[in-house]
Symmetry: D2
Subunit: 280 residues, 4 copies
């Protein structure tokens, strides 16, 4: 499926600042990019950090002496997600996990899995397949957390969300990740674009690793997994912020758009007993 993505960020700058910018779609085997265009106001400078395969495409931007900064991004992305029958995925215990997956078992800034062990085991411990557990967690978060913009901020973590029962996509993802990790399922934060999302915005979901493969879930149900384009992956939002600012500058307006010709979200029959991989 081919998507057309556009993003535009406007900042006012109080003092010369450095930004780590993370809005470029990833280029992978199953996410092919074309017609990419990235512009910044003349006077700012930007460098792309070297990346290993699969790593985020951090751009480091120096505002120079600008008072205002306009960043635009445009790309066409063709993705090719796959699906698997949950019962055909073999579970791999901690003893068989790849080393690179282990850090996604550990608690992180916004996903305090170390505090959620009892809750996770009590609610999901009886489910006997880790992929079914991850699915159940995603459903439970959808059922129990209200999507209410304005109820959370940049310091809100999974422990806040389990208490306050409200948040946005980022908070939904953090809570689901924390619950997965509490069950010894590696889980990571997915930041990306989502086709036709209303209102249009950057989006966050989570991926759970079973059988050394990463399966995607959206506990907000605002997107369909076949409409997701990956920007970044990380332990949580701390690793995958659209913009990390060192200095003093203010986001004034933001516009995001992700569309496709004739996009059809996956239906229930295509998801029943199945899980989706963005990189099959």
């Amino acid at each position: 499926m081919a998507f057309h993505i556009q993003a535009e960020l406007r900042y006012t700058i109080q003092q010369r600042s450095t930004m780590l910018l993370n809005l470029h779609a990833l280029s992978t085997t199953n996410q092919i990019l074309s017609d990419e265009r990235f512009t910044i106001t003349q006077g700012a400078t930007c460098e792309f950090l070297p990346q290993q395969p699969g790593e985020s495409r951090f751009a480091r931007l120096d505002t120079g002496d600008l008072d205002h900064l306009l960043i635009t991004y445009e790309v066409k992305a063709e993705t090719n997600p796959g699906s698997r029958l949950i019962r055909q995925i073999s579970s791999i215990p901690v003893g068989g996990m790849q080393r690179s997956h282990l850090p996604f078992l550990f608690p992180s800034r916004y996903c305090q899995s170390d505090r959620l062990g009892r809750l996770a085991n009590r609610r999901f411990g009886h489910i006997n397949h880790p992929l079914a557990q991850a699915r159940a967690i995603s459903d439970w978060v959808f059922d129990n957390i209200e999507y209410v913009p304005g109820t959370s901020d940049a310091t809100t973590s999974a422990c806040d969300t389990i208490t306050q029962r409200a948040g946005v996509c980022r908070d939904f993802a953090h809570l689901a990740i924390a619950l997965c990790r509490a069950l010894s399922i590696p889980a990571r934060y997915f930041a990306g674009y989502a086709c036709n999302m209303q209102p249009p915005d950057f989006h966050a979901c989570f991926e759970a690793c079973v059988g050394n493969q990463w399966f995607i879930f959206d506990p907000t149900r605002l997107s369909s997994p076949n409409g997701l384009i990956r920007i970044a992956t990380g332990r949580d939002a701390a690793d995958a912020a659209v913009a990390t600012i060192f200095g003093a500058m203010q986001l004034e307006t933001q516009m995001v758009s992700c569309t496709a010709d004739r996009f059809t979200p996956l239906g229930q029959s295509e998801l029943d007993g199945k899980a989706i991989l963005l990189e099959p």
Copy 2:
């Protein structure tokens, strides 16, 4: 029912200290005391603070120059709890509550009801009688929190317990109180003695106010409401600690006993559709 209560506390004292001691049973219309005996090691001094009806019997103790302090307390208490059919208790909205009950609607140190509104409304909002809500809250806390000594400490609050899902009687009471208040039901902390409790210890429960009457619930189910003897009532444990110490002294050992001849806990049939008042 007549109960025989004994308590013994041993402290070592690092520096001259003042204690607020709160282990005397209350004397009320439905809790009649006799044969009360209270001793402290010679050299310490103790004064009983004046109290209004229903207020805790704070004793203020000065350790003087003692290195060790032994406090003993003994009393016979006869209680006379009542029961009401829940459906016969008329609910009183905030608009009709007595002024003295209002503070028990507000969040307190260990009962952050202001953060638990969504959870409370989602789980218990559909129940249409506040006394049935309080009962459902007590049951839910019993079902969802594990009683595990050592998992909480003096700083643990309802928000910690809803996250960590473990605690002791104090934590069970705090969480239940916070959930009641989040539903606009005045709720307060009950500290007392509990007949035949295993292991013997001071106990904490909670009372919910409906129809301007206070009904007792024990979300730990370690006691039966007809085996409770009130020491103190407060917004939470901050108001009703057995001992609040100003200075430096250490509890070394503690012995508590509460027994009765032929005590029978209330059975399910006596509790079905009913709620219990300690001061009917």
Copy 3:
């Protein structure tokens, strides 16, 4: 000194609600009221709760079927604060405190004094007069916390503020109260009007009890103690909110004004070595 106070609150109402309203100035020996006027939109009903001397004047308001509610309040208040030389106030240990002051030693929702003992003792433990400690605490909060509207919300507590180092008057008061209590100084929340404050708003300060007298401090330094008019006193903001809402209604606009003819804030020479009482 005579002050002229006006307040106006506009709400939109989503569903019939009950409000506890707490914006009436207190009437005391040293705070004399006149020309009081209180109006609410026709269709709402309001009842004043009985109060003991010194208690807040809670008004309980039922919105009925209104969609919009306008509340106006106007009063003239004449206050008569006093001052004392700190060195002439004799400190009273816990052992000599009035019973009614004891609850102001305990931690409360927004003032977790139980967690701040080491910080309080390390910074202020060497100061040998509790009134000088309270003054030092007020100064330290002013020096170490930034007054930044928008950095805190209704769930922000002293532990958040000691971490984040920013807040508004309510947060300043909570942190100071928690530090006082951690040193065994009873401390309470003061909600009121403040003459000529910029921008005009309801204000919060704190009172510390030494020698069984309550001394006022404003750690924000936005007001002068001789320009304060008391609305309410409580353990923290939970007890003294301007409006506690049971139902669903939204504050749309708020106007507060407190002025006087020829008001002169207290100068440094009038405060040196002294502390101010609103009820001398």
Copy 4:
């Protein structure tokens, strides 16, 4: 300098478990190992995970059907730390940092640098060299936090420690790391052995990255930087726990020893104006 290290861990096992074990010293250019010996009770199995240079030597252990497990470790390690004059180290802004250092700028589970920005800037923002800032942070943590075993646990984070002002080496490191990151200095957790530490135990310190080099600091001052042997490096203790357990097993006893012939801690003159690197 050559060190002799021994460690011994005894566990009882409730159910078959997997452990990630992280007690092997790292082998690096400046930390040369010899005579390494590692034993586990017969019946358990252990595999060493593949590692990239500089990565921790995770051992993955399966307890099999054992009821008790004894792990012993012994090694000789020769280290060769270096020192630099702080004023000769050139500061590198975020714009010049290596990509691999960037994650150490982000907040992590126990180091919520996102909440400590104001405190960090107010206390250390005026210091004009990042290495001097890191040194000042280490000193400030030593001066302001009390080393008190038992005051913290596995969930304690930098925000708890800044409030409660007490902890152990792990907490000291977390707070210092969080303050460094809040100033845009990459900082990481160091887990290791420390020569002659009293009482002997595993130790935690922190490293700050300036000029793309990692400098070591011990805010507890329990060790000397020339007596440290690195086990692991990570964002915080979540990455570098001695043992992460998946299953149910209990540490019963632990013995750690790290000694050297004629070890002399660095003196003040050797540290004045200087900073120490373990991998110069």
